[in-house]
């Protein structure tokens, strides 16, 4: 797990790929590779983000009761 690059490392790699591609002096094959790599990375990042979002929502939803409670309490005020 520790070897696995973090979300931020992946993001940085993706951004570097974008910068390299923007320079445009790399062979097609290379750029294709990089592009593909970038696509992979972005896919992964997106996946991670989605996961994170789910987690966040879940955690927040777990507090839904309290939210209700809070609202009740607010009503009481």
């Amino acid at each position: 797990m520790t070897d696995k690059p973090t979300f931020e490392e992946n993001l940085t790699e993706l951004e570097e790929i974008v910068q390299n591609l923007e320079k445009g002096d790399i062979p097609l094959e290379k750029s294709l590779e990089k592009f593909q790599r970038g696509m992979e990375l972005s896919k992964e990042l997106q996946f991670k983000l989605e996961n994170a979002e789910k987690t966040l929502t879940r955690v927040m939803d777990q507090n839904g009761n309290e939210e209700k409670f809070e609202r009740d309490e607010d009503n009481e005020k």
Partner: protein
């Protein structure tokens, strides 16, 4: 006879008196005689008789004359007197009015009397202790003449005073030669009968010769030896005989003797009654005192209101009881106040505000953490989106879309024909897809090499 011939007693007496008074011999008479019937009357005129063996004359000596004489006239004394003879009309007696009186030697009997008196006095007969007379005699012997006034006076007096006593008369000669012996005999007779309480020996008044038996020694000794108390009453008060001196009691008169011999019955009954009354009163008084003492004690509040014995305790007890309850109530109230005070302070410091504050804080932090989480994720998303957009722009596929395509075999781009062989299977990549092809003929371009 006519009445005029009779004289009145007064007239005759007056006539006689004049005869006496007018007689020259009788105006001043010198007379010798023996004093008789004399009893001194203090501070008064003196009446007596003068006598000799055969005759007797009454005499009077006025007080003024009597006070002048220098001796004490006594019964039986021979005297020389000077006086006048006169008649006392009221009694019709003639008498000598004595102006002067002198003694004329001493009488023979008087001398004998004095001698015996001295002798017996020397023997102590007179000073010997006298027997006491019984107060309540039962039987009294009286030695006196049967016919004289003595027994009569005694009887009268006794009857008057004490009629329950038995009087017994022992008749005796009280005058003359054998009188003394008779008296002695009677005394012995009284003694012998042994039943008498008191003996009275008495005789009326008379001359010293008349009274002589009572001056004789045998009579004196018989009286002295007599075991019964003897009352002697001989002659008049002025006649003191030896018998009188030796007797236990001397009475001036027979009446006095009787009075001495018996009490007054009524008085005695009264006395006993008085004693009875005193007894009754004394005992009644004692009872009264004792009753008062008892009533006083019974009247003490202790018995009248015995509740006072414990009333004090009742009050004390009530007082303590009340105080105990008040004290306990106070303790209770004080502790309750303390507790309530503590409780209200505790309530004031209840951490409810702190809890609510913290709750708000936590809510705020929750809000913040939620926001932070969302923001963080958003920012990451943005970065990823930006990179992805850029990558998309730079995609080599975009060039191919202008009509370019490339060949690859086994994922390797084939940049030169030299690397191709006929019938070789290749892939042609287009912008919008791939196509599989087989090399049919190879034509090498020289110039380009």
């Amino acid at each position: 006879m006519s009445i005029e011939k009779y004289l009145t007693v007064s007239a005759l007496t007056k006539y006689l008196k004049r005869k006496f008074d007018a007689d020259p011999y009788l105006g001043r008479v010198y007379l010798t005689g023996e004093i008789s019937n004399f009893r001194v009357r203090p501070n008064a005129h003196q009446y007596f008789s003068l006598k000799d063996e055969r005759a007797k004359i009454s005499a009077i000596m006025f007080r003024s004359s009597f006070e002048k004489i220098k001796f004490k006239p006594e019964e039986g004394m021979k005297v020389l007197v000077v006086g006048r003879i006169s008649l006392y009309e009221a009694t019709g007696n003639y008498q000598i009015y004595v102006e002067k009186m002198e003694p004329d030697g001493v009488g023979a009997l008087y001398q004998a009397y004095e001698q015996l008196k001295k002798k017996l006095a020397a023997e102590g007969l007179f000073s010997a202790p006298k027997r006491e007379l019984p107060i309540f005699p039962k039987k009294i012997a009286v030695i006196t003449s049967r016919s004289g006034a003595v027994i009569k006076d005694i009887m009268t007096t006794v009857r008057r005073r004490y009629p329950i006593v038995q009087l017994v008369l022992f008749p005796a000669l009280v005058q003359g030669e054998s009188a003394a012996a008779d008296i002695v005999e009677k005394i012995h007779c009284v003694e012998r009968s042994n039943s008498f309480d008191t003996l009275i020996i008495g005789r009326g008044g008379g001359s010293i010769e008349d009274l002589w038996p009572f001056n004789e020694e045998i009579v004196a000794r018989a009286i002295y030896d007599c075991k019964i108390p003897v009352i002697s009453s001989v002659g008049h008060e002025t006649d003191t005989t030896i018998a009188d001196l030796v007797a236990d009691v001397r009475a001036a008169t027979p009446t006095a003797a009787a009075e001495l011999a018996v009490p007054v019955l009524g008085d005695e009954i009264l006395k006993i009654n008085q004693l009875k009354m005193r007894l009754y009163q004394a005992f009644k008084a004692e009872l009264k005192i004792k009753t008062q003492q008892l009533v006083k004690l019974q009247g003490s509040y202790v018995f009248q209101q015995p509740e006072r014995l414990y009333e004090g305790y009742l009050q004390k007890l009530d007082y303590f009881d009340k105080r105990a309850r008040q004290a306990m109530q106070a303790i209770y109230t004080e502790n309750e106040l303390k507790l309530q005070h503590m409780l209200s302070r505790l309530r004031e410091v209840a951490p409810i505000e702190s809890v609510r504050l913290n709750k708000k804080n936590i809510e705020y932090l929750q809000q913040r953490i939620r926001n932070a989480g969302l923001t963080y994720l958003e920012r990451k998303e943005q970065r990823v989106q930006a990179a992805m957009v850029s990558l998309d722009m730079l995609s080599p596929l975009k060039i191919m879309s202008r009509g370019y395509s490339y060949v690859s075999q086994d994922k390797h781009v084939i940049k030169s024909v030299k690397r191709l062989k006929t019938t070789q299977q290749i892939e042609i990549h287009f912008a919008d897809g791939t196509a599989a092809a087989e090399i049919k003929k190879i034509k090498e371009d020289q110039s380009n090499d």
